[in-house]
């Protein structure tokens, strides 16, 4: 069967569809992935509030089942807080090997429909289905088929968003969660974004939303009403992204062979921190969150970077590289703590702290590339 033109606006084969014409992007996001896998594998957990993550000390929730969410339990929340919000919450230790297995199954389904798959983590991915390999005829139909096959093969539900760029597709998949599908058609993007609270924008955290509220910006429409100069004045390098996002514009291609260079996370504090114990406690929290992210994204990196932003917005970074990838959470925490301790005493209170693991090596790519010269270990 002759290949269908992806969209009437694409006129000839020599134009780059990603830069020129309209694309068809699907964002697939598994519903409460880790928690759902646990509920599937352990029938006694079904219908009950479940959190995957360590329950003691400084553990954080890696995933919360939908039964736990009405209580306010969210991922990245300290487990202690989650247990307080939901006293009947059942904690399961994470089984990443199991999640990886299921993730492989799901990725195989994606690859049936397109080679253009960009995994974001074990449980979500972008797919570019502009080229309709099987002549299915519509991206919405492909998204529906993918969701059906995931359910049939894994007994797990996924939500999908369909649109003409990554930003909108991701917003759409979040719209009718769980087990939902949402389509944002060409021409609808700006209107869809206009009605959203700014906190739904990827990259806008609680402190960012607070700052925008002070400036009178609460929705995408408020954001779109501001000019680029205003945004640059208040949000610096983040302004260009906000400006485009407020208009539903996102030209980033789906990158199938994307090699992630770093994984990190940061936190802006409600009150600036200055004492050593407070900084160390905050660091512990960030270690938990970032390590969970590293595990979920299968990162193996050698360099740990600590970022500190002071009350006067001055930014410093301190980094340390090991001769081999960071092996476990304890080692990650130890390097992070060394970096913080070496930076003490600090000249000013800290408003933001972040940790990044970089120099990432992917296990898979290491296997495929020609055999590298490797120093073997004695001890």
């Amino acid at each position: 069967m002759a290949q269908q033109a992806p969209h009437p606006h694409v006129e000839s084969g020599d134009t780059e569809p990603e830069a020129q014409g309209l694309r068809k992007i699907i964002h697939v996001d598994m519903d409460a992935f880790f928690a759902s896998v646990e509920q599937r594998d352990n029938p006694h957990l079904r219908g009950k509030p479940v959190a995957v993550g360590g329950s003691s000390g400084r553990g954080v929730v890696a995933a919360a089942s939908y039964e736990a969410r009405p209580f306010g339990v969210r991922s990245a929340m300290p487990s202690v807080k989650a247990a307080r919000l939901c006293p009947d919450l059942i904690f399961c230790p994470p089984r990443f090997d199991r999640y990886r297995e299921v993730s492989e199954q799901i990725r195989a389904i994606f690859h049936h429909y397109t080679p253009q798959v960009e995994p974001l983590s074990l449980d979500e991915a972008y797919l570019d289905v502009t080229d309709d390999l099987h002549g299915i005829g519509s991206a919405t139909r492909i998204a529906q088929l993918i969701r059906e096959r995931i359910l049939k093969e894994t007994q797990l539900t996924a939500s999908a968003g369909v649109s003409y760029n990554k930003f909108l597709a991701k917003l759409a998949s979040d719209q009718n969660k769980p087990d939902g599908l949402c389509v944002i058609r060409p021409g609808e993007g700006a209107r869809f974004v206009a009605g959203l609270p700014v906190s739904r924008f990827h990259g806008v955290g609680p402190r960012g939303a607070e700052k925008m509220a002070v400036l009178g910006i609460e929705t995408g429409a408020d954001l779109a009403a501001r000019d680029i100069a205003f945004l640059r004045e208040h949000f610096g390098s983040f302004a260009d992204y906000l400006y485009r996002a407020a208009r539903g514009i996102d030209l980033r291609p789906v990158r199938a062979n994307r090699v992630r260079k770093s994984i990190g996370g940061e936190r802006t504090f409600a009150d600036d921190l200055s004492s050593g114990p407070a900084l160390r406690a905050a660091l512990d929290d960030i270690v938990e969150i970032v390590w969970e992210r590293i595990t979920r994204k299968e990162g193996h990196g050698r360099t740990v970077t600590l970022k500190l932003k002071f009350s006067d917005f001055r930014l410093i970074t301190r980094a340390r590289s090991l001769s081999r990838p960071v092996e476990n959470r304890e080692e990650f925490a130890r390097v992070a703590l060394t970096l913080l301790t070496d930076a003490l005493p600090l000249p000013l209170p800290v408003r933001l702290m972040g940790l990044t693991l970089s120099g990432l090596e992917r296990e898979q790519s290491a296997e495929k590339s020609p055999p590298e010269k490797v120093q073997l270990r004695l001890l």
């Binding site: 340390r320 090991l322 001769s323 080692e331 130890r334 390097v335 060394t338 003490l344 005493p345 055999p371 010269k373 490797v374 120093q375 073997l376 270990r377 004695l378 001890l379």
Partner: protein
């Protein structure tokens, strides 16, 4: 305090002190050296980084007023360095300042009170023994290159010292960075029996080695507990180096020393070293691997670099086991070969992925284990 010291003596002491003092300090007093002049004509000079402390007593030309003060170690060292040879240096304190006079020069330096100067509390050091300075120097040289610099494996950041009963009682020193291991064995000195296993931090090892350079044929007295170690060097003045020990467990390294490696390679360590050094010239930072092709009485060293091409060199050798290839980090090989004094070095090999044992011969007190690279 007022005292006068020979510039040469002051300079020597300060060079020891400033080397212990860290260049960057968040606690101001740790940048300072403690000077203490006593009525018997001696001046004590002391420096610390809280983990390591050096104390030296020297005879002054004169002590007019006994007393004690602390001033910047690096500053005073730099001044002493630039003062004329053969001059006498007078140190006098007044009004939170110390005046340094020599010849026509005069410096007035800020000070901090001696009471703020931290001292390492040695506590009880129940184990005491002595090792000749030369033996101690050799022990350090043969092992310290293998000390790990990786701070996350802090328990490898030093030389491990322990006693053992073998055919006869021995004292062993070992260091490893997880890729290679160096071990030095000597007969157990009197008094070392029953000593706790200790890990001497890298910095203490380095400072001790420098001080041993100046020690002649003397015996170095070592006193230790499970937490601290003290080295007393006699000489004309008397230097005492006290260090905290690394609080950690050194891994059971004996299990990685191969015993059944059946392929014996013997060659001249100098031509081997030079050959490795030559072919490694083209190795880039990431791939410092040297491949060794072993054949009957011949070793072919080779390096392949994606950027710089290839290099090869044949080294005559004594080898009669089966032919095979094995790779090593060139720098690791060179570090070990540099410690072999004789005309031959023995490599006991098993296969390209197994630890290789390297030593001068079976009587040598030093033994090395090197893990290959996969090439």
């Amino acid at each position: 305090m007022k005292a006068t010291i020979e510039r040469a003596i002051l300079l020597r002491c300060l060079s020891h002190a400033q080397s212990v003092v860290e260049r960057r300090n968040t606690i101001p007093i740790l940048s300072n050296v403690l000077l203490e002049a006593s009525g018997d004509g001696m001046v004590k000079i002391m420096a610390t980084d809280l983990d390591l402390q050096v104390m030296e007593s020297v005879a002054a030309v004169s002590v007019e007023t006994p007393g004690a003060i602390t001033v910047s170690a690096h500053l005073l060292f730099d001044i002493a360095r630039k003062l004329p040879d053969g001059s006498q240096v007078s140190l006098e304190t007044a009004d939170n300042r110390m005046t340094v006079r020599a010849g026509r020069s005069r410096f007035s330096l800020p000070t901090l009170p001696r009471d703020d100067f931290p001292m390492i509390v040695e506590g009880d050091l129940p184990t005491s023994f002595a090792i000749p300075a030369q033996t101690l120097s050799e022990l350090i040289d043969r092992t310290r290159f293998a000390i790990s610099t990786e701070e996350t494996r802090y328990y490898l950041n030093g030389i491990f010292l322990h006693v053992a009963e073998e055919d006869s009682p021995v004292l062993k020193a070992a260091a490893t960075d997880g890729h290679r291991l160096a071990r030095f064995t000597l007969p157990r000195p009197d008094g070392a029996e029953g000593m706790p296993d200790v890990i001497i931090p890298r910095k203490a090892v380095g400072e001790l080695r420098k001080l041993l350079e100046e020690a002649q044929d003397e015996n170095i007295r070592i006193d230790l507990s499970s937490g601290k170690i003290r080295f007393s060097l006699g000489g004309e003045s008397g230097i005492v180096l006290t260090s905290k020990l690394i609080d950690g467990t050194f891994p059971d390294y004996s299990r990685v020393i191969p015993t059944g490696n059946d392929k014996l390679l013997k060659l001249d360590p100098k031509s081997f070293y030079q050959g490795v050094d030559r072919v490694a010239t083209i190795a880039t930072e990431k791939t410092r691997a040297v491949k060794m092709g072993l054949e009957n009485d011949k070793v072919t060293l080779s390096v392949t670099s994606p950027d710089n091409g290839t290099a090869a060199e044949e080294v005559p050798a004594d080898y009669s086991a089966e032919s095979f290839e094995i790779g090593f980090n060139a720098n690791y090989l060179k570090d070990i070969l540099a410690q072999i004094d004789g005309d031959t070095v023995e490599l006991h090999l098993a296969d390209p992925a197994a630890p290789t044992l390297i030593r001068q011969d079976d009587k040598s007190p030093a033994l090395y284990v090197l893990m290959p690279m996969r090439v």
